[in-house]
């Protein structure tokens, strides 16, 4: 099945990925508006991948995490740094590893 791509984030991120061919875009404004838009993206059968900046994802906090837990397999959701390169200290994958396997490993490469 073919799917389209959506992007949620700041003006620069949205501009860049629109230039690259992403079909849907939302420049984050208020938390409420962004949540509604994400709800639409998650419910759409057309969208296979949603890119969202770490910063916006963090601002949405708990509500966003709950949406992730209850969403279907698609769309895939990938959190990405914005132009400042911002990514949170706590890496979700690393947390999962600690919980399930009981080993701490470093996932993020320095720099980049």
């Amino acid at each position: 099945m073919s799917f389209k791509i959506a992007v949620v984030g700041d003006q620069d991120t949205v501009t860049g990925f629109a230039l690259a061919g992403a079909t849907y875009a939302h420049i984050s404004t208020t938390k409420e508006e962004t949540l509604v838009k994400l709800g639409e993206f998650f419910a759409s059968d057309e969208i296979g991948l949603v890119l969202i900046t770490h910063r916006v994802a963090e601002e949405l906090g708990h509500d966003f995490r709950r949406m992730l837990q209850t969403k279907r397999l698609l769309p895939l959701v990938l959190r990405i740094p914005d132009k400042t390169g911002y990514a949170p200290e706590v890496d979700e994958l690393r947390e999962i590893i600690k919980r399930t396997v009981g080993v701490e490993i470093t996932i993020r490469e320095e720099g980049g």
Partner: protein, 212 residues
């Protein structure tokens, strides 16, 4: 913890209980093997994520640098306008494949990189900095699509890993100890009954002998 399993001390029950212990033990051992296999799969995906993430993020920051250059030379408004005019119909093929019964996503994407004409913004907009920014973001997007597939797989495997581990623990620390407890109880009771029967028989025998 161990709430006792109610059992009647009969031979039949003993047999059934032994079968239950056998099943629980077999389930435990096999699910433990499954956990080990899932750990192998999980770490392999994590290893690939490390590589893919480093590459994708490096490309993403290169893309942002190119975009800033475009803003500076072509103008912010003009760049945004071009992004609105651009053809925005990129499609990705997503299907699922199964790793030990877990559905994980498989993403295939054709050529993401386009030439200036295919990008669709009007030619009066065309400039080398705009093309450059577009191309860099196309490259970043391609790498991020690959990363999304890997992360999606990692989360799916992790969920199954947690679920299977919970089952292993429930078997190891709750069900199997309770069953063994019940087994011990039955064996003890049956022994007791046997001893009673034995002494009763002895008494009867003695009585019978006395009569003779």
């Amino acid at each position: 913890m161990a709430m006792a399993i109610a059992v009647y001390p009969t031979r039949m029950e003993l047999l059934k209980l032994r079968q239950r212990v056998g099943l629980a033990q077999r389930g435990h051992d096999l699910l433990k093997e499954k956990v080990d296999a899932l750990v192998i799969e999980f770490f392999e995906v994590v290893r690939r994520i490390q590589e893919a993430r480093a590459k994708a993020l490096e490309q993403l920051s290169a893309a942002h640098r190119a975009l800033l250059m475009c803003f500076a030379i072509m103008g912010t408004l003009e760049t945004k306008q071009a992004s609105k005019e651009a053809k925005r119909e990129l499609q990705v093929e997503i299907s699922t494949r199964h790793i030990m019964g877990i559905a994980v996503p498989t993403v295939e994407v054709g050529e993401v990189e386009r030439n200036a004409l295919m990008r669709g913004y009007s030619l009066r907009m065309t400039s080398s900095v705009l093309d450059e920014a577009s191309r860099e973001f196309e490259r970043a997007l391609k790498l991020l699509i690959g990363l999304a597939e890997l992360e999606g797989s990692a989360f799916a495997i992790a969920r199954e890993l947690e679920r299977t581990k919970r089952r292993v623990n429930a078997l190891e620390y709750i069900l199997i100890p309770r069953l063994k407890e019940a087994l011990k109880f039955i064996v003890m009771k049956l022994d007791e009954i046997e001893r009673e029967n034995f002494s009763r028989l002895k008494r009867i025998k003695a009585m019978l002998e006395e009569r003779e």
